[in-house]
């Protein structure tokens, strides 16, 4: 403890010294995958580049990629804080407790944790309403499936992923009452081998639509090899797999948020906040719906998209029951953010057990 506080003191002194010389704001990023995954981490890195583009010489950014979730990430964050970072973005759910722990040791460093729910005086949380994009995907999937089997590759059974499955299912079922979801948990955010195997197994079991909540393009490649299967880009556009198998995508757009938060640190106006923006605010983008989708389906998907964008429709609007048949949302009722943030149940109709 003593050694750590000495280190922290030295770091503060260095920060103060260099700060008075250069006046550069230092922003660190902790990534769960490689910046070249063309998925989740790639988009966060685009956000980092947006910060550099916006502030030029006034900012210095650095990142560490492929940081395992858990204790090792604490070491990386501590290292960044000791190097004098003013603001650190930790960009995966599993960094939640490590972020809180490290933040407690460095009260003067601001932290921003993506997709979590634990805040502190110097820890903000931010996420995007990916489930709005999942609604559009579910709508297209329900229309496009001929086998009525939709495969879904989940990463970890956490609220963010479960929300996506529920939202996709509700909107697929809306347009196709016979649709069935098959769900595989890969227990990884990024492992092309596992993701490819999972996609192949889903296809072998009859799925002709594969949705993924993992970050690599391997499921796209597997679908392409299988032939008559469609997919959706995850986190990033993955347009190189269009017009088929990839027929649309969810694109994360972190740049504007990262620029705004860096600006707040520069101005001294940074405060701990909880941000959860969706399609309307531009944090979630929907990639081009390709020619492989019939025009009437494309039109109805775009109509759904515009209703989500202007806020006239909520992706979780009743009547919706929970998987065990108990009532959740009454007719016309929309889900509150608290329930959504901690969502730990499937909606009625999903024929799969959730792992613990």
């Amino acid at each position: 403890m003593k050694f750590k506080s000495i280190l922290a003191g030295v770091a503060l002194a260095i920060t103060a010294a260099t700060g008075s010389l250069a006046e550069k704001t230092k922003v660190g990023f902790v990534y769960v995958g490689p910046v070249t995954d063309f998925g989740w981490t790639y988009e966060h890195d685009q956000g980092r580049k947006a910060v550099e583009a916006a502030f030029g010489d006034k900012v210095e950014t650095f990142y560490v990629e492929s940081v395992p979730e858990g204790p090792d990430s604490e070491r990386v964050m501590t290292d960044m804080a000791l190097k004098g970072a003013d603001l650190i973005f930790t960009t995966s759910f599993g960094y939640m407790d490590p972020t809180i722990n490290v933040a407690a040791k460095f009260p003067n460093v601001k932290f921003e944790h993506a997709t979590g729910y634990k805040q502190a005086d110097n820890v903000s949380v931010y996420s995007a309403r990916f489930y709005e994009g999942r609604a559009v995907q579910g709508h297209i999937a329900g229309h496009m499936t001929k086998s009525n089997i939709v495969g879904y590759i989940g990463s970890f059974p956490i609220p963010e992923v479960i929300r996506g499955i529920n939202s996709a299912y509700i909107h697929a079922k809306d347009v196709n009452p016979d649709v069935q979801f098959k769900i595989i948990w890969a227990y990884t955010w990024f492992d092309p081998t596992k993701e490819a195997d999972a996609a192949k197994v889903l296809i072998e079991q009859g799925a002709d639509v594969v949705l993924q909540h993992t970050d690599s393009t391997a499921p796209q490649a597997a679908a392409q090899a299988a032939g008559n299967v469609i997919t959706f880009g995850q986190a990033s556009d993955m347009a190189e797999y269009g017009p088929k198998p990839r027929v649309s995508s969810i694109i994360d757009n972190w740049g504007p948020y990262y620029v705004a938060r860096t600006q707040a640190v520069m101005d001294g106006t940074w405060a701990s906040t909880s941000t959860w923006d969706g399609i309307g605010a531009g944090m979630v983008g929907i990639g081009e719906i390709t020619s492989a989708v019939p025009t009437d389906v494309k039109a109805s998907a775009e109509a759904l998209l515009s209703r989500l964008r202007d806020g006239s429709y909520h992706a979780f609007t009743g009547p919706v029951n929970k998987q065990d048949g108990s009532a959740w949302l009454a007719r016309g009722e929309t889900a509150d953010d608290g329930t959504l943030a901690g969502m730990g149940f499937y909606v009625e109709g999903i024929d799969s057990e959730m792992p613990n």
Partner: protein, 310 residues
């Protein structure tokens, strides 16, 4: 839960594909260990093969050139290990571990500009009538050539070890290098060649992963396959036919686990994921319980340093 959704034919067919990388690496390591060398660098050689094969296939547009370069790449890094252990008499365990770490790092460096690229498609067997025969068609006649190459290789290694003079010499070197040396066999040369063969096989295994199974390049994509290959050799008690069984079993567990999940069976994934290693431990314990039998199986000189002066 709907187990009928699992098609046994497709399950067998896809486990054959999924097992091919570890089968190739394991059969190579078996030959290495039969010569009395323990090379723990399989993972490193595999990943070097994965990137060499991928890069060559992308640059030339030919998967065959890719596989060739993968074998050469795997053999080339194994030469480092061979020189260290055969000429400088360094510790095999430490050298092997170093080779794994070196391979992972080097492959990441070579691979930087190959992330996110699609490789050319590998030729897949598709015989007009035969591939459509129910059950046998998908299992036997509709794979890419690596699946067949791996099977042929297993058969070849079995035949070589059992029926040829070369195989006898290799085994003699692995059982007692002093005796083999006294008889005039070139212990170091035999082992050098065995190590390079093992490297080439591991390289092919890596390419089967990056060019066929995924097919994509990502850093660290072997994700422990090399260690599983090592475990399979022990599990198989150094017998080629059992290596085949072990590889299909270990590969099968991974595929079965996904199939069960998709069919809606909620099973603790952790148990299935650890089962290959558990089986290996059980086999090791069972083998060491019966000393006379285990002495027959493991090459007697495995892991021991040889120097002609002794």
């Amino acid at each position: 839960m709907d187990l009928s959704a699992i098609n046994p034919t497709l399950l067998v067919a896809s486990l054959m594909v999924a097992s091919t990388p570890i089968l190739l690496a394991a059969i190579g390591e078996l030959v290495v260990e039969k010569s009395g060398i323990l090379n723990l660098g399989v993972e490193g050689m595999m990943i070097i093969g994965a990137i060499c094969g991928f890069a060559a296939a992308v640059v030339t547009g030919s998967p065959m050139v890719g596989f060739l370069c993968a074998a050469i790449g795997g053999a080339a890094v194994s030469v480092i290990f061979a020189v260290l252990t055969q000429y400088f008499l360094s510790n095999q365990v430490a050298s092997g571990l170093a080779l794994t770490l070196f391979g992972l790092g080097l492959s990441a460096m070579i691979g930087q500009s190959y992330v996110g690229i699609k490789p050319p498609t590998t030729y897949k067997l598709d015989l007009p009538l035969i591939s459509d025969v129910p059950i046998l068609g998908p299992i036997l006649f509709s794979h890419d050539f690596t699946v067949y190459a791996a099977l042929v290789l297993v058969l070849g290694v079995w035949w070589f070890l059992k029926y040829t003079r070369g195989g006898l010499i290799l085994r003699a070197v692995g059982e007692s290098h002093d005796a083999a040396h006294a008889l005039g066999y070139k212990v170091v040369r035999v082992r050098f060649m065995a190590i390079m063969f093992g490297g080439a096989c591991a390289g092919l295994g890596g390419a089967a992963l990056s060019l066929v199974r995924v097919p994509q390049w990502t850093e660290g994509m072997t994700a422990g396959s090399g260690w599983i290959a090592l475990a399979i050799v022990v599990f198989a008690s150094w017998k080629p036919e059992r290596v085949l069984l072990g590889a299909y079993l270990f590969g099968g567990v991974a595929i079965l686990q996904l199939n069960l999940q998709a069919a809606g069976v909620s099973i603790p994934v952790e148990y299935l994921s650890m089962s290959p290693y558990l089986i290996t431990i059980v086999v090791l314990v069972a083998m060491s319980a019966n000393r006379a039998k285990s002495a027959l199986n493991a090459p007697a000189a495995l892991g021991r340093v040889f120097h002609a002066s002794r």
